[in-house]
Symmetry: C2
Subunit: 133 residues, 2 copies
Amino acid sequence: MKLLDIGEVAERSGVAPSALRYYEEIGLIASAGRKGLRRQYGAATLLQLSLITLGKAAGFSLQEIAGMFGQDGRPDLPRDQLHARADALEAQIRELTALKDALRHVADCPAPSHLECPKFQKLLRAGSITAEV
Amino acid sequence: MKLLDIGEVAERSGVAPSALRYYEEIGLIASAGRKGLRRQYGAATLLQLSLITLGKAAGFSLQEIAGMFGQDGRPDLPRDQLHARADALEAQIRELTALKDALRHVADCPAPSHLECPKFQKLLRAGSITAEV
DNA sequence: CTGCCAATTAAAGCCAGCTTGAGGTCAAGG
DNA sequence: CCTTGACCTCAAGCTGGCTTTAATTGGCAG
């Protein structure tokens, strides 16, 4: 099993060395060992980092990501909790879609005041966060 | 036009008064005026706050949200920039979908090591953030 | 064996996005 | 008129997620 220096992992994963040490500090990843003082990482770490990057892009905190996947990169949670996470993601996807549609609408609709445009308001309500007015 | 105290806006929008003052401080919203010292808000503010909440949920910074919609709640940007924003959102939606599918996969696939499961790796690559291995 | 350069640590610093606290103001109900 | 309590301002503090800095160590090419 070929091991990688932190610099190489950083380069391949796009995650800064300081961030990698930080991830280790909070228990999100673990190095495969040390060569002297130097951390050595296995290929699995690169995949874990993909997952972490993905999760971050999805708006999850590092704690939440750590909760979805243990530091070994495998899911820690019972199936129903994983599905609950996926359901939450679906809800977030719906919100994003609403925002995206709202943006496209304001880009294309010539109405001067979108806040009063019924279609726009409907789009907002589709995100189901509209305050009661 | 009926005006609302900050407390009422907070209650209806779910945004704390301190946050509302902060939003005003950074120019994200504006009060319709003051009654004595007290800020008074119009109904439009509630809609703006929906937009802001939506944008935050979508992972945008307050600066970015302010850039999409002026403090009057109307878009400031030229059409192509709005569409560019929408395109970025679509990319984010694809990532979220990849993560969601990955979660469902690990919830349902009985394989012991998902990191080595080809299907799982493919799901990760669908999010197009996988490090080169 | 030497010297370089990447890696190490601990502690401090930084940004966003608020919240909290102290001390003060004032609109409205009794 | 007086009290009450919601509001005000300003400054400091807090969390998350790192980065930066300073001082040090040690692997490895020559």
